[in-house]
Amino acid sequence: MSRMTMIEAIRDAMDVMMGKNDDVVVFGEDVGYFGGVFRCTHGLQEKYGKNRCFDAPINESGIVGAAIGMAAYGLRPCVEVQFADYVYPAYDQIVSEAARLRYRSAGDFTAPITIRMPTGGGIFGGQTHSQSPEAVFTQVSGLKVVVPSNPADAKGLLISAIEDDDPVIYLEPKRLYNGPFDGHHDQPVTPWSKHELGEVPDGYYNVPLGKAKVTREGADVTIIAYGTMVYVAEAAVKETGIDAEIIDLRCLLPLDEETIIASVKKTGRCVVVHEATLTSGFGGELLSRVQETCFYHLEAPIQRVTGWDTPYPHAQEWAYFPGPERVSRALEQVMEA
């Protein structure tokens, strides 16, 4: 066990996998000599050489497209897109190529690639450094979509992603890189070094894709969350005193419906929380699945607490971010209903 930030845990996962398997290569903008703008790949080039970890030209489609070609050859590329906000130029390669290669070739070729990218707001990054585009990936059959919320999971999930034989979108909530952030932006954040979830097992281990984690057991209402929102939900629960069960999804696709259904059937109430915009956000899918499977157990309408349907503004960041107050209000409403 070592104490690690989420950045270190992510780096450690790549380090472990590069050490274990020569076919793992890492590249992306600024990831080589410098080690990434968030330093997630720091030291990997020095350790594994320029053949295995290198700087890429600023062309996200090229980064993913080249990774697909490498994967077709037999490698396992783990590439970085500098911010999730910059993944759109690669969207065609991801949707039309990586996600469908196994299907359209009947398994003749596959694309075991991992695409890492920092996601979410809370750092005054404005609309081009704050987005949460997970739903444009969860709509794509053939992809897996992962969002870790702490260093231990981050490492185990990234190892699973790199080992996975299908393409994985790995979204890193950048507001959690250095410590769990609960939305109280005016209060200091506990660094991971002082937080129990900063305790990361050494060496190889994995956290399976498709398994959610109940981070708090509760009887009255189920909160479905992932990434930063897990801590926002915790804060809201503490502040309202409502006995909520919190589910940290960890993996959005495939989804751990079993855990969700068991919880909602128990509590009879549900609040879905994410930072992305409301309309056609992943919350719509979560709400739908719960409604479809737990309808007769529901005692109140399921609520969604999400970012507003606007681009992510710079100065109004905290009016945009769905913080504990909004989650608390939803919890109270759901309990009253």
Binding site: S61, G69, P254
Partner: protein
């Protein structure tokens, strides 16, 4: 400041539209044998002119001339002719099958048979092509079983792609033939990535990317050239300039650059332009580029100057946008006729053998077709299982797909 002039938009137009009489006499075609053959380690700057010329080997009399000639044995040449004839016969049958409703769609190679068949002969086992939909010759030049191709075209019960893909979107790893996408341009950068992987692993295999004249406009073309140029990937970047992109003439993609090959110049990538209807020239140039790649000298761009003599696909009728006579007027001739003439002038072939071979190939194609049809065609006979629709989305079927399959009752 010069006096203010009113601007206007320039929209390039092809020289001939339906109703016009096509006349290509103003197109300069260099004489066969006239373009030099540089060493493979030449610096790109020294051969800039080769991107504006056309490398040709076969002259009008059917003789192979100049520095790019004499690379193939008599046997290889006869095999080449057979490959092209097979591709043409295969196309003819499948065009007809489509008209008969046995499949939904087909795309033929008429007039472009030399490009893919000759190119493949310059590769080695283990190398990988990233083809578009108009390079089936890469498979046929390896004597790939036609019946398997037809099974795919018919989406029948033996379709290796299980009915999932549009006809002709083959995938054959064993034959160095990457799964065809249908999305234009995407595979070009993938070819570069594959080649980079080979270099990363200190392997000896090389890759070849394929793209059409129209599709060079796609942005992934740029991605491919940037990556290939930066990492000196062992890749051959093929541009098949068949003059048309559906109804759009090549000028819309090419703009003000004299040729497509010239695109390589902005990247320091050596670029050659070759007569795509000259089997010997295509082979020679491909071989040159392959050698460069194998010697770790990096990428080469090749533009094949050819002509799409048929429609874009079975959904297209070119009479709507170009003169019917244009394909006959096209100055580079027919690749099969030209190679046949060469073999005859070499004294190793005759009109009789040609007819005989044609008949023989027709029989083989027909036999394959018969066999394929015994496994079904798109709307009748054996077809892939609907269960297969849910397979291979992921390596292991996740619960939600299992549930959906159940719901589908299959």
């Amino acid at each position: 400041m010069s006096e203010k002039k009113r601007l206007h938009l320039h929209v390039p137009e092809p020289e001939f539209r339906p109703g016009d009489t096509p006349d290509f006499s103003n197109v300069t075609i260099p004489k066969a044998g006239s373009v030099r053959r540089p060493d493979v380690d030449v610096s790109p700057e020294e051969i800039r002119d080769l991107a504006y010329s056309i490398i040709r080997v076969l002259n009008r009399d059917g003789d192979a001339v100049g520095p790019w000639a004499d690379l193939l044995s008599d046997d290889e040449l006869i095999r080449g002719l057979r490959h092209m004839m097979t591709l043409r016969a295969f196309d003819a049958r499948m065009m007809m099958a489509q008209r008969q409703g046995k499949t939904s769609f087909y795309m033929q190679h008429l007039g472009e048979e030399a490009v893919s068949t000759a190119f493949q002969c310059a590769l080695e086992k283990g190398d990988m092509n990233f083809p578009t939909y108009r390079q089936a010759g890469l498979l046929l030049a390896q004597d790939y079983p036609m019946v398997k191709m037809m099974n795919q075209i018919y989406s029948n019960e033996e379709d290796p792609l299980k009915g999932r893909q549009l006809p002709i979107m083959y995938s054959e790893k064993e034959y160095g033939f990457f799964s065809i996408s249908g999305n234009l341009g995407t595979q070009y950068i993938q070819a570069v990535g594959w080649a980079m992987a080979s270099a990363i692993k200190n392997d000896t295999k090389i890759a070849a990317g394929w793209i059409g004249d129209g599709s060079t406009a796609e942005s992934d073309f740029h991605a491919a050239l940037v990556f290939a140029s930066t990492y000196k990937a062992p890749v051959i970047l093929n541009v098949v300039n068949n003059q048309w992109a559906i109804s759009t003439f090549q000028g819309i993609a090419k703009g003000g650059s004299g040729t497509f090959a010239a695109r390589g110049h902005g990247f320091g990538i050596p670029a050659l332009r070759v007569d795509g209807n000259d089997y010997l020239a295509v082979y020679a140039v491909a071989k040159w580029a392959a050698e460069r790649a194998r010697l770790n000298l990096g990428p080469t761009m090749i533009e094949y100057v050819t002509y799409r003599a048929g429609g874009h696909s079975t959904s297209d009728d070119p009479a709507a946008y170009r003169p019917k006579e244009e394909s006959d007027a096209w100055p580079l001739g027919d690749p099969i006729e030209r190679l046949k003439l060469h073999l005859i002038s070499k004294g190793i072939w005759s009109e009789e053998r040609q007819l005989q071979t044609e008949a023989e190939i027709k029989d083989t194609v027909l036999a394959a077709q018969k066999e394929a049809e015994s496994h079904g065609t798109l709307h009748s006979g054996g077809s892939p299982s609907t269960r297969d629709m849910f397979e291979d989305v992921y390596k292991e079927m996740p619960p939600h797909l299992r549930r959906q399959r159940q719901e589908a009752g299959i």
